[in-house]
């Protein structure tokens, strides 16, 4: 280890924990593991999981990270925290003492966020390490099984990975069971209660088609295929389940990147400022902190944006400008009270929608760009007209809003057992080459023809993948 002993770290950790408690952060028990840069690369390639099932894409991720690191294009993160209970964090042994102190404080804030933000409620952090391990063992057992082997396992995993994010996004909303969906369908079909039923003409009601599969458009693509393709073998079903479960575990992290990094940055700054660091450590901390929150020209630094918004929310509830006062939530007595409630109740999209003000858009120098004829052109800048548009665009490019919403509409389209998917088009077209290749994966898993209804350049289009390959057909409006 660098120029300090483990005992010093433990000493500093104790002081940090006192501050963490004083500020009211609410954490899982924390475990730190000191690792070198090779181990860090390994952890990064597998999203931090100490055990994970094997797949070549993680090898590719590793090679990419290593190449970037070796060529000095990108450094390694100073830490990595896993949403588990107890929370597991890796610290790079080459970090200086000042950096380790900053990192430890940062880790506790992530830990608090994992424990308290509502999106993480479904992630079952007590079991995640065991679950990952069990996934790994199962996948390995299929690979080693002489009747299955790596090639077939890989085929299924390749396809499942391609579809893993086509699933329900808001996991806090409970998924209705089939029976409940049926009930709801029936109730919806009933005519509305009418106190004057005797004088009115009898209302017309249709009997709903309860044989339709799925009853309501289904977002969990992998699970739907798992449950409705009778020709899948047991191990194939299991692989789809594994990939689906893992995606579900990671979705909250995708959904709260800006909030979570901003929250950790907000707190590491506050904690370190309250620690009375010796001057040399303090100076280095300032330099490091500024590196972390440096805006990256032409891109988005979630640490910077998140941190700025958190600081601004805090300020608004401590020293509001006169014109801001009327917009403040009533009954909130302090900035601290406000930010703790926001950290529990928002995700990136709602966080930005509620708290990214015109003033912040200007301060952060946000701008919007589009591709025109192959060039990247600035289309809106942070001014009185442009800021709303920029905010809307930003909200659409965070979290799961970057993943097109595609639902299973019909498993028996045209009475040919064709799987019909419908893309809920919101003005953004699909990337067609990617759509074609991904549809091929759907076809592979479904085992019969598949079709995807979407819009291309304002026209309704049906993309199909059949035994004769990929075709597109324009649909009447």
């Amino acid at each position: 280890m660098g120029t300090y002993e483990l005992s010093e770290l433990i000493e500093w950790d104790k002081r940090i924990r006192d501050k963490v408690a004083e500020f009211g952060l609410d954490c899982f028990p924390q475990e730190f593991e000191i690792c070198d840069h090779n181990q860090m690369l390994g952890y990064m390639a597998y999203a931090g999981m100490p055990s994970h099932y094997p797949h070549w894409s993680y090898g590719k991720a590793y090679e990419k990270l290593k190449t970037l690191y070796d060529h000095g294009v990108s450094g390694l993160p100073y830490e990595m925290v896993i949403n588990s209970n107890p929370a597991l964090a890796y610290l790079m042994r080459d970090n200086t003492l000042s950096l380790q102190i900053l990192t430890i404080a940062h880790v506790y804030a992530h830990n608090d966020f994992f424990k308290n933000n509502f999106t993480f409620r479904t992630t079952r952090p007590e079991f995640v390490l065991g679950a990952m391990k069990s996934h790994g063992q199962r996948v390995r057992s299929y690979i080693e099984s002489p009747s299955i082997g790596i090639d077939r396992v890989e085929q299924v995993l390749d396809a499942a990975h391609a579809l893993s994010l086509q699933c329900r996004r808001n996991l806090a909303v409970r998924k209705l069971s089939e029976e409940e969906q049926r009930q709801r369908k029936l109730e919806d079909a009933q005519p509305r209660e009418d106190p004057f039923a005797r004088v009115h003409k009898r209302q017309h009601s249709d009997t709903p088609d309860l044989r339709k599969v799925p009853l309501e458009p289904e977002e969990d693509l992998l699970l739907f295929i798992r449950d409705h393709n009778p020709f899948l073998e047991e191990w194939e079903r299991d692989l789809l389940t594994i990939v689906h479960e893992e995606a579900q575990y990671f979705i909250p992290q995708i959904e709260t990147k800006i909030m979570n990094e901003g929250w950790a940055t907000f707190w590491h700054k506050r904690i370190l400022e309250s620690l009375n660091l010796p001057q040399d450590l303090h100076l280095e901390f300032l330099v490091r902190h500024n590196q972390v929150v440096r805006p990256i020209a032409g891109s988005l630094n979630p640490y910077h944006i998140g941190w700025k918004i958190w600081e601004d929310i805090y300020r608004r509830y401590e020293q509001p400008e006169p014109e801001e006062e009327e917009h403040l939530e009533s009954g909130i007595r302090s900035g601290m009270e406000k930010i703790f409630s926001v950290r529990a109740a928002d995700r990136d999209a709602s966080f930005l929608r509620r708290h990214l003000t015109e003033r912040l858009v200007r301060e952060l120098n946000l701008f919007e760009y589009r591709v025109r004829g192959g060039d990247w052109v600035v289309t809106e800048v942070a001014d009185a007209e442009g800021w709303r548009q920029i905010k809307e665009t930003l909200i659409r490019s965070v979290g799961m809003n970057t993943v097109p919403v595609i639902k299973v509409e019909d498993a028996d389209f045209g009475h040919h057992r064709t799987l019909l998917l419908v893309h809920e088009h919101d003005g953004r077209d699909l990337h067609l080459e990617y759509a074609e290749k991904t549809l091929a994966y759907v076809y592979q898993l479904w085992g019969r023809d598949v079709a995807l209804q979407t819009m291309v350049n304002g026209k309704k289009v049906l993309l199909q993948f059949t035994d004769r390959g990929f075709t597109t057909r324009q649909l009447a409006r």
Partner: protein, 393 residues
């Protein structure tokens, strides 16, 4: 609120060494990259950049096909970035195709330019090329060998020897055995030191061995008459490159002979061979004559595997044809493989005479003619050519 005590696990160097957990997945990814290279081998071979012969040289090979596809948004989707505060609407951030200006990592990413290049060494590439050739019995074929090269072979154990050849496992075993024996005879106080004895030391014994070494020579013959332009020479060069790599992969010791000819033939250096143009007419026979002379002098067929290849545009003087045919047949007698490649870039073939007709009369099995019209032909022709390789008894 009380924050529970945290646990610190110190760095463990032994864990760090053992924990190359990505190794298996990297290997698998690497295999996919290789598969990709193999699928595109014809394109890659046709690229001028790889033609050269330094085995350690690193080549950039463009790879497609190991993208991880998902449903993602296409190009009509706007993005947001942070600027310096001096941005103007209409300002162009960057021109042309490319990735968004440093998009942050996020799931459901835009398609990066996943058309990336990978580094392979020339040797690796050659290995992949020959996997592609699907000639599984290549190695087992009998080569013309001559005994040479002393290598050391392991043969038994000795009580005395060089320290580097100490067999630690056997030495320790012998010590353990001795200790058990002495425990049984004399009551040994436990914990007492029981050192190694001279008799415990066991050394691996090595004996010199004879290894068969095989030699090969590649004769590159090319028409450098006025009608051979740069394009034709480039195609010829691609072919020679492949031939050289193939022979090098197969034999320990490979020599190259370059013969340039117009109406007369000369042995030249590689540099001259590919870069010096000459002018004048063409006597193909002169090159074959020269090759036969050189074989006679330096590369006796009983000691050398001879590969000869001749590239020309086929524009030979009629008067020379009979001699050329005769000498070509002679060359077939001594060579493992003799080939004639006629290079006629598309469009030129109808105006010039061809040797292909004439050479059809050669009955030897190890003779092969190819017609190369464009660079995509090089690899398939080369494969066809090698199929004729025969090993003489």
């Amino acid at each position: 609120m009380v924050v529970p005590e945290s646990i610190f696990r110190p760095f463990s160097p032994s864990d760090a060494e053992r924990s190359d957990r990505a190794a298996g997945d990297r290997l698998r990814h690497r295999q996919k990259v290789r598969q990709c290279i193999r699928d595109n081998i014809a394109d890659i071979v046709a690229e001028e950049a790889i033609i050269g012969k330094d085995g350690n040289r690193i080549i950039k090979v463009p790879i497609r096909g190991i993208k991880e596809y998902r449903f993602i948004y296409g190009e009509n989707v706007p993005g947001v970035g942070q600027g310096d505060g001096e941005m103007e609407p209409g300002q162009v951030l960057r021109h042309g195709e490319g990735e968004a200006p440093g998009q942050p990592d996020r799931a459901g990413d835009r398609p990066g330019v996943d058309y990336y290049e990978t580094d392979v060494t020339l040797d690796e590439l050659v290995e992949i090329m020959f996997e592609d050739l699907e000639l599984p019995d290549l190695e087992r074929r009998k080569l013309r060998e001559l005994p040479a090269q002393r290598v050391l072979r392991h043969k038994g154990y000795r009580r005395a020897g060089l320290r580097v050849r100490l067999d630690k496992r056997r030495t320790v075993k012998s010590k353990v055995r001795r200790r058990l024996a002495s425990q049984r005879s004399a009551a040994l106080v436990s914990g007492e030191r029981f050192p190694f004895h001279e008799n415990d030391l066991t050394y691996r014994h090595m004996v010199p061995d004879l290894k068969e070494e095989s030699n090969a020579v590649v004769f590159c013959m090319m028409d450098t008459s006025g009608s051979m332009d740069t394009m034709k020479k480039y195609l010829a060069r691609s072919f020679f490159f492949l031939l050289y790599q193939f022979v090098r992969a197969k034999y320990r010791n490979v020599e190259l002979v370059f013969i340039a000819h117009h109406t007369e033939a000369r042995e030249v250096s590689e540099e001259e061979f590919f870069h010096k143009g000459e002018s004048g007419g063409t006597f193909i026979s002169s090159a074959y004559q020269k090759a036969l002379e050189i074989i006679q002098e330096r590369y006796h067929p009983s000691l050398w595997n001879i590969y000869a290849f001749h590239c020309s545009d086929g524009d030979n003087f009629d008067a020379d044809n009979a001699t050329a045919l005769k000498l070509a047949e002679e060359l077939c007698q001594v060579a493992n493989l003799f080939g004639y490649g006629e290079i006629k870039p598309l469009g030129s073939r109808y105006y010039e005479s061809s040797m292909l007709q004439l050479f059809r009369r050669i009955a030897a099995e190890n003779f092969h003619t190819v017609l190369i019209e464009r660079k995509e032909d090089v690899w398939p022709s080369f494969k066809a050519f090698l199929a004729r390789d025969r090993v003489r008894e």
